[in-house]
């Protein structure tokens, strides 16, 4: 009854008042238009107010709410920013280059093939509760971070450490109970694998031979028992899961015979190649040479956490009342989904050089909201990619807009397992039918990309060139593949035989992704006469479709670097299942392997470039662009550089009150 009255009223009212309503709407939109013109059409130097805060504090809009304060848990950028304030590792990211700079370690020695590192810790490093930080704390932190129980999502970054992967995957060694000897991996290795053995896998040699004359202070205590075991050939590793292990053993007669009568020993944290040689010396042994590993050690995964607190409080150790931290700042308070406030830690070893009293990390996931807050002077800097695309025209000319290359690539992944995309000629055609120059000009903030590593990020890396835009050749290639492109009378093209049914270009829902996809679609339509339907998907649905190869055609992806080396991109195609394209080639893996066993840095880069070229020729993806960072920071915020990963060592950031020393453009990344 009630509902009936209510509905009839609504209907009648709507009829009577629709004219007034339209008038009102027109008035409102006029007013809105006038206001926005007035607000946006200003010719100020900066975007909004530039009054420094009264105290030395930084109000930083940090995007999403941090998942957890445990540095081993999250992989996101908002969390990384907070971890970098609260926790320190042996090394820290350089504010400009992101290379490793001393932190808890004062200095380090690298062996001749970058497969072993000796870190010398400073003796005055302190936890926020005043206790000293020593080598054992680091060893504990790494063992904990990659333990299967913590189930870290970034644990794979530590797989370079000897036995770390086996420990994280809960694998087992095989031991002969009679002799106490372990079975060795090399006795069962498939033919043709290791190109050469890393120094860390060979028997111990004198210091001079392993570390060379460059070592600032040759590591003492070389001959511990643990170190001997690290320098022994790698042990055979089998899955802990009995069913999987049984399958594996039964498939290999030699292995089955060798395993018979042996016992399986679980790989534990004590087995991994991280050793406290003494209270202030840490030795890290890798299973392969990795020249970039020192830089990787600045990652939150390797930052030290306080053992006693974790053992006492378990999962709630990160609560403000319990947490003990190691970084330049300590937790002051945390109001979830609102703000997390850190303050300078007086116990920090370099406290004299920490310039900010406080950093306030604000949670705000809506970019226009963050921009407005910045504009009225309620925030001093924003997280990367916070300038919405439609705002670029207004914000980009301002002097507080940060524009620099980012260590990331945008590309279309191709599912190469299904026709017609299993034909290399078709993939090539779709690549060279896209005018990437025009695309980047239209998008304004990116650089066109023809390779699979970002342009202008890895200094000295001879990045190979992929094929460039050539619509004529693209049509010819399609013709060769059996899909002739014909020219219509009006000058447009058609490719009637091409089977578009089921093909699509899928992307995760986001305005900017949609724009990219539409551009690609238009290019193919214009140059090949083929219309590929677009598939707009919720982001997790998109990821599942890519990971499980549940798409046909193309998937738009953006890949950001985990560390500053080309392999952070090239390794995507290292295993058959991880890339999401279905493409895998042993030759490519061998090329990467060869590069990683090459000692000379430049030679290694050349070999990596060779591998990249091989990948580009196989074309399991279409590179699109190198994105740019785009955010705003007030000119008085100094020491914050738009580096390729947007990670800031906070102790170098400060508030400059003398306006003559402000940043009047994007600060340079080269000194």
């Amino acid at each position: 009854m009630r509902a009936e009255i209510y509905c009839s009223h609504k209907f009648r009212m709507a009829n009577v008042y629709w004219k007034q309503f339209l008038t009102g709407l027109a008035l409102i939109s006029l007013a809105f238009g006038a206001i926005s013109c007035r607000v946006l059409a200003n010719d100020e130097e900066f975007f909004g107010k530039t009054t420094p805060p009264p105290r030395n504090l930084l109000r930083y809009v940090n995007g999403a709410e941090p998942e957890s304060l445990d540095p081993a848990v999250s992989s996101g950028q908002p969390e990384a920013h907070i971890y970098m304030a609260l926790f320190e590792g042996l090394v820290e990211y350089h504010p400009k280059s992101l290379n490793a700079i001393p932190a808890i370690a004062e200095k380090w020695d690298i062996n001749n093939d970058s497969s072993e590192f000796v870190f010398h810790l400073r003796k005055n490093a302190r936890w926020s509760n005043g206790e000293p930080i020593d080598a054992h704390d680091f060893v504990y932190s790494v063992r904990r971070a990659i333990s299967p129980e913590v189930a870290s999502r970034t644990a794979a970054l530590a797989y370079y450490i000897k036995n770390a992967q086996a420990f994280n995957q809960k694998s087992v060694f095989v031991r002969d109970p009679a002799t106490n000897q372990f079975l060795l991996q090399r006795d069962f290795a498939a033919a043709g694998t290791p190109v050469s053995e890393a120094l860390s896998q060979k028997g111990l040699a004198p210091n001079e031979l392993e570390y060379g004359a460059t070592a600032t202070s040759p590591p003492s205590h070389t001959h511990t028992e643990f170190h001997q075991s690290m320098h022994s050939p790698a042990r055979l590793v089998l899955p802990a899961d009995e069913k999987r292990r049984k399958n594996l053993v039964e498939s290999d007669a030699k292995l089955a015979a060798a395993v018979n009568g042996k016992e399986f020993v679980r790989v534990v944290g004590e087995d991994i190649g991280v050793e406290a040689v003494d209270n202030y010396t840490v030795r890290v042994s890798l299973s392969q040479p990795a020249p970039f590993f020192v830089d990787l050690m600045a990652h939150p995964l390797f930052r030290v956490v306080h053992r006693k607190t974790i053992e006492k409080y378990g999962a709630s150790w990160t609560e403000p009342a319990n947490i003990v931290t190691s970084g330049p700042f300590k937790l002051k308070w945390w109001k979830p989904y609102n703000e997390l406030v850190t303050e300078r830690d007086p116990m920090y070893w370099d406290v004299a050089n920490v310039q900010l009293d406080e950093i306030r990390f604000y949670t705000s996931t809506d970019h226009p909201t963050s921009m407005n807050l910045y504009r009225v002077g309620g925030a001093d800097a924003l997280i990367n990619h916070s300038v919405p695309n439609p705002w670029l025209d207004v914000v980009r000319p301002k002097k507080d807009y940060m524009d620099a290359a980012e260590a990331a690539i945008t590309f279309l992944l191709i599912n190469v397992t299904q026709p017609p995309m299993n034909d290399l000629r078709v993939r090539r055609a779709f690549n060279i039918a896209i005018d990437k120059e025009t695309y980047s000009r239209a998008k304004r903030t990116t650089k066109p990309l023809s390779a699979f590593t970002p342009t202008g990020i890895f200094v000295g890396y001879p990045q190979p060139k992929g094929e460039s835009f050539d619509a004529e050749l693209a049509r010819k290639l399609l013709g060769e593949a059996g899909f002739p492109v014909t020219k219509n009378s009006d000058g447009s093209f058609a490719c009637e035989k091409f089977p578009v049914q089921g093909l699509s270009l899928i992307f995760a829902t986001h305005t900017s992704n949609k724009a990219v996809a539409e551009f690609m679609q238009a290019q193919w339509k214009q140059n090949l006469g083929i219309t590929i339907p677009l598939g707009n998907m919720e982001s997790k649905t998109h990821m599942v479709a890519v990971n499980k190869l549940e798409y046909k055609g193309f998937a738009l992806r953006i890949w950001g670097a985990d560390y500053m080396d080309p392999t952070t991109f090239l390794n995507m195609f290292l295993t058959p299942s991880d890339s999401g394209s279905g493409w895998w080639d042993q030759k490519y893996v061998d090329l990467l392997e060869e590069a990683n066993h090459t000692l000379d840095r430049q030679k290694r880069y050349e070999l990596l470039a060779k591998a990249e070229k091989y990948l580009l020729d196989a074309q399991p993806m279409i590179p699109i662009d190198t994105p740019s960072v785009n955010f705003v920071k007030k000119p008085y915020v100094k020491g914050m550089y738009p580096n390729p990963a947007s990670l800031y060592a906070w102790k170098f950031v400060y508030i400059e009150r003398d306006s003559s020393k402000w940043d009047y453009k994007t600060p340079s990344l080269s000194d």
Binding site: R153, T369, N372, V376
Partner: protein, 312 residues
């Protein structure tokens, strides 16, 4: 049976129906999260299989689904919604009790504002039917209903924060603070407009009723007639609207909380759904469902008091 007893029986019956309803709602939510592609740990990059396995074992996702469902239900029946998956270490109950005050503060203030403005404007419009007051207020109400809050919010921010610098554009600074003004106005606009329309319609119907004529004939003053007799009957539609409206306002509104970066329940609701945070989502859905059902019950009770003709 006495009226009171009938009423009590009605209330108990309604409360008993609530329990199975909630359980069905929870089951559907659980199934929907399970059916949605991806997991809480699905990120930009594919996780190595072993790492995914570690996570699944840690959170018991490797167990058969029946076992997981029964365990979840057992927890829910003990009012323990468990720990959030996407915010490890934070209990769902803790998140709800922390965010509810934020959403409820903004929601209740918005509804009070909407009631005050809406009833007054609606009454004036009804009493002065077809006058310029009537047309003006009803046009404004129509505009209020038509402008979605994701448009109104940014307009208010543009005018009051970016142009005039009077009010902060976002963020929660507790209550009372100046930060609360814009979200409250944004949130209340549509309710204000609706209440004005409902009041006007209700009043118009009542003003022509016999008992109003009786009241006038008794020689009561016009104010007494309006306030004591007309409003009481004329507000019935507003009351029935209050239940669901208040339930939604109390439990947070996704859009307004996002525009103004408020740490409310709606923010977490959206986060839980898009991150497949099953315990958090189930906890919030169950909570919202309970509030909604209780509000509707309260409305039905209030009805009996306002309108002597209604019997249960």
């Amino acid at each position: 049976m006495s009226v009171q007893l009938l009423m009590l029986r009605f209330i108990i019956r309604r409360l008993l129906i609530t329990i199975p309803t909630i359980l069905v709602v929870i089951t559907i939510t659980w199934a929907l999260v399970r059916l949605a592609p991806g997991n809480f740990y699905t990120g930009d990059k594919k996780l190595p299989a072993a790492i995914e396995q570690n996570i699944r074992e840690k959170y018991g996702l490797d167990k058969p689904w029946r076992e997981q469902y029964l365990r979840m239900m057992a927890d829910v029946l003990r009012f323990d919604f468990g720990t959030s998956l996407s915010y490890p270490g934070q209990s769902v109950n803790g998140i709800i009790s922390r965010t509810l005050p934020v959403s409820a503060t903004v929601g209740i203030l918005a509804y009070l504002l909407a009631l005050a403005v809406g009833i007054v404007t609606g009454s004036i419009a009804a009493l002065k039917q077809n006058s310029k007051w009537d047309y003006a207020s009803m046009t404004l109400a129509m505009v209020g209903i038509s402008i979605p809050n994701f448009v109104l919010g940014p307009i208010l921010v543009l005018v009051f924060s970016l142009m005039l610098y009077w009010l902060p554009p976002s963020r929660w600074e507790g209550f009372p603070s100046r930060n609360i003004i814009l979200p409250v106005i944004t949130l209340s606009a549509i309710y204000m407009a609706y209440i004005a329309r409902l009041t006007r319609a209700g009043m118009l119907e009542v003003l022509g009723a016999d008992y109003i004529r009786t009241a006038r004939a008794k020689g009561l003053s016009e104010t007494q007639v309006v306030v004591r007799h007309a409003l009481r009957g004329g507000l019935l539609p507003v009351v029935s609207y209050t239940g669901p409206a208040l339930a939604f306002l109390l439990t947070g509104t996704v859009v307004v909380e996002r525009i103004f970066a408020l740490p409310g329940l709606g923010t977490y609701f959206l986060h839980a759904a898009s991150n497949r945070d099953e315990p958090l989502l189930i906890g919030i859905v169950a909570f919202v469902a309970i509030v909604l059902l209780l509000m509707n019950l309260l409305v039905d009770i209030a009805y009996a008091y306002l309108d002597p003709r209604i019997r249960y």
